[in-house]
Symmetry: C2
Subunit: 571 residues, 2 copies
């Protein structure tokens, strides 16, 4: 089945969460007039539903295939990708001087959401290239920008991120790929990278790999890492010495080839340094921060698809009379209370996580305009957006299977694909555990704790009569105070529950705002406003209190975790 | 990878949760001497690990295959099944007069756990046949028992349960399969059944289908359903007119063929009535109640396997220095606090759910001895065991993927299989939503509410200084009082959160008991006692408070769920 674009929802969020009118008031984003925004939301939804969604199942069943001559995408993907390039969908948020349209990142977020909802695996190529654009825009030389950006901006070429090696996953500093001067200004790259998304494929003429490597005599760890641009095809037209040696056999996102790339097997792989030597981590973080929001967004995308499918099934599947009803006539299962509970939970979680991520994207746009408070807010909510967004994706996809009953476990139904696809998102782009560590290790103390304090002030200022939301804000404050004074181990032990609490607090805040705003909207679809209100209430009345229940775990400390040796876990 | 049988854990539970010594004091279970129990636990673990576990991956990758001549199992399964029959593993709990060993169901539960941990898909055939034995033992005629039981008891033949039809899933009463008298004492069966586990295969000479069908002029709904025994091969050696027309392409448990069976295509399918006409539902519930405990057990089985695999990986995988450590040397990831949190959560959830199910099995044995209070207790905790056990399976398998990081998403690792396999268990044998409805619709009011009151008294009597457990007991009491006075819709709307709260309460109670008992055990492995204590504390300190956070959702009522039309869910 296909899906229905969520244009009303996106328009509503642009108005009340992104507050895109504030952005459009700046020269940089003047292009984001209401008409343009509307046209893009409408157009992207139609494009994703029309071109990408029909390929979702073949992407899963056939998937990307490795051949000795390179990775091949399934039938239909080439035309769909070309339509994406032709439609200018990749260039929305890039700078006009590089061929971009200078629109807010928040708007590009909405477009990427559509693509991901239509086809999560395929959308990864659309997600990663803008990150490469951002890294080159920020750290590349003028010459590099002029050479590489135009075709990356359009998507004629795609960009990849090459961090991981077999021994270097979360610990990027352990990587061993080397770069040695070739004497002509380029560097010879040698090493193996794994888990490279769209590291090879036949959708574009060229692939621009951004590769982390070590130069001779570089210091150990992350301080000795440099970033290189390594094209699949060099500018002189020669094939570079990089090869996809295999792709992974994964549980989901089969439309996305996950490549092991071998660089310099014949000592003839040339790369070009981006930014200064040993400053690669900073450049990579430029890519990663946007990518983290975008991966959180994938959780929302797959949750939306799973929800739509479950709603459609529950409205169609007739089974059993409603308990306590005057007649014994069977009803559509959406009429049964516990099925409604599941569906409304799916709606509430999806809307909540979407609001969080759009909010973060709006902060990214303000930070881009030089707003330092927005930058601090963005830094604080980025780990929440990535981790909570992807946790929501998994939970909602799982509920989607459940709503389908036995049919949910049958592959042809499609619900199972969402469940399988969703499961990668809490892992890649920094596992959710890494996000939690980032939250308690760096983000809580941003600006001496003022970033969090300001967020709590904003929430309390708006939460007024939402008593459970206020209680959760109090709980978050208490927990963060306790963890702030705690040992590193205690803090990390409580990091994940705290991350969830803070995420739910932010989502609850943004949903409470939407519930109020919905009451004041006259020009929108009545059903949309009704489900918006119902989902917000479900979140505030049922999900927010659950998060309060995490406070004990957040402050329980590390002692219980280390009371036993590692060996005892296997006893 | 294989797995390590949890013999210490099972022995500990037999002592402190099943209290098998009390059972063995009865003549009926006199065979369950400590030596025999030990030998069975040791032997079953070794058998499952040695014969079944190595087939888990081929079961997944090759799986059962449909052919025009019947379903074929993958290589290795036939010999392993024969070894199961030869070892007498199927006959443990059957009555001696039918060739069984007269041992407690709780002990058979431990054996089935081992088989499921080793190979969840395969274990389904071992799980369902004893249900057929139970149904025949309770409702079959002497002649039927003498004819069919001996080979079902050994497992030489297997039994199936045939309820579901395309239009009759949770609503069993909607089934349309017919049975008309054939004139020779048998009935002609005609209809299509779907989702029939091991409905066809090549492991045994015969298959005994227990089929729900309607006789002519039977009343509508569940009051007009009769149970028939329909063998694949009739006693005269003729092939009966039943055919497997297809098997499902499922997300997991590929070793278990899920069959669509067509009965009577040539009007020559003969079945024999079991028990009186129109009393089929009662007979089927005999099968289902045990099956519900056993499906809950599958959640524990897959959780155990996922946990063992995650622990092994986390002890082996070296990545990053420990935060705050004096050196920058990378450590095994089990040393990182959030990985420990995940692993201990997996341990705690698995142990908690296992205790709940073993406890229920022990009550089943007492009920079998005529203990009415035990029967009421069993009836009350059966929906908890099924639903919470399977929810734990899904959560733990998901955490298992997460602990593996990127490797968890690669199929070859095996963690993904557990995640896929686990997902069916909350669905079949009555969805978890049906279990929640059973809890609030029937079980809370058992004996005028005395069943629940007695459980709460037992828990409070033992929970003493566990303040969070006492708080959860109070919350459960408050919620059940509120729901007891509420409308049907309100009660059903809160049924699932309440089911989770009550399940966690029971698990917390049984784990608190184990933590105390561990302190008094001198003869057991020190590491086992250490992890037992640590996991119990994790459960009591972190998971119990989470359940308290569900109280608001349990009492939020139905109004919010029905404030919108079904159509608005699609807006």
């Amino acid at each position: 089945m296909t899906y229905t674009p969520v244009v009303n929802e996106q328009r509503f969020l642009m108005r009340h969460i992104v507050r895109i009118d504030e952005l459009a008031a700046h020269d940089s984003f003047a292009a984001a007039s209401p008409d343009v925004v509307d046209a893009i939301l409408e157009g992207a939804g139609a494009f994703a539903a029309g071109e990408f969604a029909p390929l979702n199942r073949i992407g899963d069943t056939v998937g990307a295939k490795w051949t000795a001559d390179g990775v091949r995408m399934p039938e239909g993907f080439h035309a769909a990708y070309q339509a994406y390039v032709d439609g200018g969908w990749g260039s929305l948020a890039a700078a006009p001087e590089h061929g971009g349209q200078g629109l807010p990142f928040a708007l590009a977020t909405a477009v990427l959401e559509d693509l991901g909802t239509a086809n999560m695996g395929f959308s990864l190529i659309m997600m990663l290239t803008p990150g490469a654009v951002e890294a080159l825009t920020t750290h590349g030389s003028e010459d590099q920008q002029a050479t590489w950006l135009p075709k990356l901006v359009t998507g004629e070429w795609n960009g990849t991120m090459n961090l991981t090696e077999p021994q270097a996953g979360s610990d990027v500093g352990a990587l061993r790929t080397t770069a040695t001067p070739a004497g002509d200004g380029s560097w010879r790259i040698k090493g193996t990278k794994i888990f490279i998304t769209f590291g090879d494929h036949d959708l574009t003429d060229n692939i621009v790999h951004l590769v982390l490597a070590r130069t001779p005599d570089a210091p150990a760890g992350t301080r000795g890492i440099s970033l290189f641009l390594v094209p699949k095809i060099r500018l002189d037209g020669a094939q570079n010495d990089v090869r996809c040696v295999s792709i992974e056999h994964k549980m989901g996102i089969h439309a996305s080839p996950t490549c092991a790339l071998s660089y310099g097997d014949n000592d003839d792989c040339h790369g070009w340094l981006i930014g200064p030597e040993n400053a690669g981590m900073r450049a990579m973080f430029t890519m990663m921060n946007n990518a983290r929001l975008n991966v959180g967004l994938q959780g929302v995308s797959v949750a939306e698809r799973a929800t739509q499918q479950a709603v459609a099934y529950a409205r169609e599947r007739v089974q059993s009379a409603r308990a306590g009803a005057p007649t014994r006539d069977p009803v559509a299962i959406i009429e049964h209370p516990d099925v409604r509970r599941m569906l409304l939970r799916m709606k509430a979680l999806t809307m909540g996580a979407r609001a969080l991520i759009y909010y973060a994207a709006g902060q990214a746009d303000r930070a881009h305009l030089g707003d330092e408070a927005a930058q601090a807010r963005l830094d604080l909510v980025t780990p929440l957006a990535k981790a909570y967004g992807t946790d929501v994706g998994v939970e909602v996809a799982s509920l989607g299977v459940q709503v389908h009953g036995g049919m949910g476990f049958i592959e042809e139904t499609g619900a199972a694909q969402h469940y399988r696809d969703a499961r990668i998102a809490p892992i890649y782009e920094g596992t959710n555990g890494i996000q939690a560590a980032d939250l308690v290790g760096r983000k809580l103390e941003l600006a001496g704790g003022e970033a969090l304090a300001a967020l709590l002030r904003d929430i309390r200022g708006e939460a007024g009569d939402e008593t459970q939301l206020m209680a959760l804000a109090d709980a978050v404050e208490l927990v963060t105070a306790r963890l702030g004074a705690a040992s590193v181990d205690d803090r990390l032990s409580g990091s994940y529950p705290l991350l969830t609490m803070l995420s739910v607090l932010v989502c609850g805040w943004l949903l409470a705002r939407q519930a109020r705003a919905a009451a004041g909207e006259a020009d929108m679809d009545v059903d949309f406003l009704a489900i918006k209100h119902a989902a917000a209430r479900f979140y505030l009345d049922r999900i927010v209190p659950e998060a309060i229940g995490l406070a004990d775990g957040a402050t329980a400390g590390a002692e219980g975790l280390y009371a036993i040796d590692a060996g005892a876990f296997a006893a």
